[in-house]
Symmetry: C2
Subunit: 335 residues, 2 copies
């Protein structure tokens, strides 16, 4: 079959990839549409030494599996778990010690004609959700993970740092809570999509590091000072400047959610985190069922985030497009 293969950080479009054979309890899925995520891009940069078919955001049709799933249109939870380790037995299956992860860890991914996943990972997509929205289920679930980990209330004042794909979804899910919300980003066009939905935004200038102080003075487009104003800040940029903006914006005892992985390590002023009693929360994969529910009820708009669609034969070009400054979601039309 045709697929986008990653090996030694090199991408190649290969037509000689064997159709995967579902193992016990697994289903074979014909992929119809897939989405490019920043993690895919980071994998090509060596974030994790993965070798195989790339991709983990998808919609597809089950062609082999349990009778109740065969022929169904599905999305899939990307962590394939053992069910027997300490994490699995203690209600943390996404942290399974023996997990494979679709297109990320030891399991061929979604940028190909077919993929396999455990049947228990698959969720039937209601007919009301078009493919171009359903393909957002996985990143939308990741955005919702924040609210699985910490309580966000309508009284909170929340900052989202980053106007990219993940920042957009995080902001849109936080907006549903009714909390006070501000999204800081560097791309006027992307911020505009949030303002279209009634979400306040601010354009970040380069942070001017103060000579004397320990923090960053973040001057935002409005001339407003956001330092120390927020109960919650969600870092969705994956770069140290974004982290610095999020940290600086928090009040004492505020919470900083880290949604993005970082290519390198990050140097923190830990003493200031102790003195201000800041909580940092790492956040990764989230729950599919509520994400699908939000999409079905059209409570979260996602299709406006699609910048481009490419055929699988153009997957390498699509990956380039997804890395252009200002790009939002790039989709692959597969079947």
């Amino acid at each position: 079959m045709l697929g986008l293969w990653l090996e030694d950080q090199q991408l190649s479009l290969r037509d000689d990839i064997p159709v995967p054979v579902p193992g016990a309890g697994e289903a074979l899925v014909r992929v119809t549409q897939a989405g490019i995520c920043n993690t895919d891009i980071e994998l090509t940069r060596g974030y994790y030494p993965y070798r195989g078919v790339l991709g983990h955001e998808f919609v597809g049709i089950v062609v082999e599996g349990p009778p109740e799933l065969e022929g169904q249109r599905v999305v899939g939870e990307i962590n394939a778990v053992c069910g027997r380790c300490s994490a699995c037995l203690n209600g943390r299956p996404t942290h399974c010690e023996n997990r494979t992860v679709l297109g990320i860890v030891a399991r061929d991914g979604a940028f190909a004609e077919y993929l396999t996943l455990p049947s228990e990972n698959l969720f039937v997509v209601p007919g009301s959700i078009p493919d171009a929205a359903a393909v957002f289920t996985e990143p939308l679930a990741a955005a919702l993970e924040i609210q699985e980990q910490i309580e966000v209330s309508a009284d909170d004042n929340a900052l989202v740092v980053g106007d990219g794909k993940l920042g957009q979804l995080v902001a849109r899910t936080l907006a549903l809570v009714g909390c006070e919300l501000l999204v800081v980003g560097r791309h006027e066009r992307k911020l505009g999509r949030l303002r279209d939905l009634g979400i306040p935004t601010a354009l970040a200038r380069e942070p001017a590091r103060s000579a004397a102080g320990r923090g960053n003075e973040v001057e935002i487009g409005t001339g407003e000072d956001i330092s120390g104003r927020f109960d919650l800040a969600v870092e969705c940029t994956g770069n140290p400047d974004g982290f610095a903006i999020a940290r600086d914006a928090l009040r004492p005892r505020g919470t900083l959610v880290m949604k993005s992985t970082y290519a390198g390590s990050l140097t923190l002023d830990v003493s200031s985190l102790v003195v201000d009693e800041i909580t940092l929360v790492g956040s990764r994969c989230g729950p599919f069922a509520p994400a699908l529910e939000l999409l079905g009820q059209q409570k979260v708009k996602v299709t406006d985030l699609v910048d481009a669609e490419y055929a699988l034969t153009e997957a390498i070009e699509a990956m380039h497009r997804a890395q252009q400054p200002g790009a939002l979601k790039v989709l692959l039309e597969i079947g």
Copy 2:
């Protein structure tokens, strides 16, 4: 009056310090005993540019103040707050934006014959608590702050990293919860004091950084591997090796409480915190009332932590003693 003065990171014993004059709402306290904390030592190393009388752990007698306090033996909450800022008005007085902090920020401290604090900061010490125990109220409160911030249950498996003054108190307060507990430290003598109380300990060897993996393989004295075993790890060493041990010991979705300030910044593998959904919690000053209650009920032993007592005239020598490897609490007998 006599006092230990810090200026430009230099300590001097001065006898020309004016007796402080209590402001509105403040009391004048004659200090009877004071304790040396690692923060005092860090201040001499330039952790924060403080100039004035050092010291914030004390017991004393109120010599001027409201009638109900005059003549009483007291301990005192170290943050003097404005009551009007956003932090004060929102139930976070220890984070007051205009606070002074006894012996730490813009308020002369306890290593002197007299100090002043707002009367509302003072707590009368029950007669059953000797001075040498009451002087531990402040650090004991700091240890209890952990349980104000996160829920620790008897089902939890908790690791304390560090066998120093703070690690000892943290371990002793966590032991009261009845959770599974292990203290890792580098000083056999200090660990012995915990074992005397029935608290399991392990001697940490130098962490051997693995060539391939991202974490530290922490080999402990028993030959046991503590990697990934704990729900909660409390870092009480203030050094990067201690942080690495705490991080490595956590299971996915575990919580790392940072109790110590660090002289410099710390470089973290943030991606691993995101992937493992780790929560980091900075933790500082805590509640005095429950600390005094524990001391009054003799539920937490503290006096075995006293290594030496010095007169105020020997305060510089006492500071040196407190910095010797393996030292626990050094007290100053003042009045």
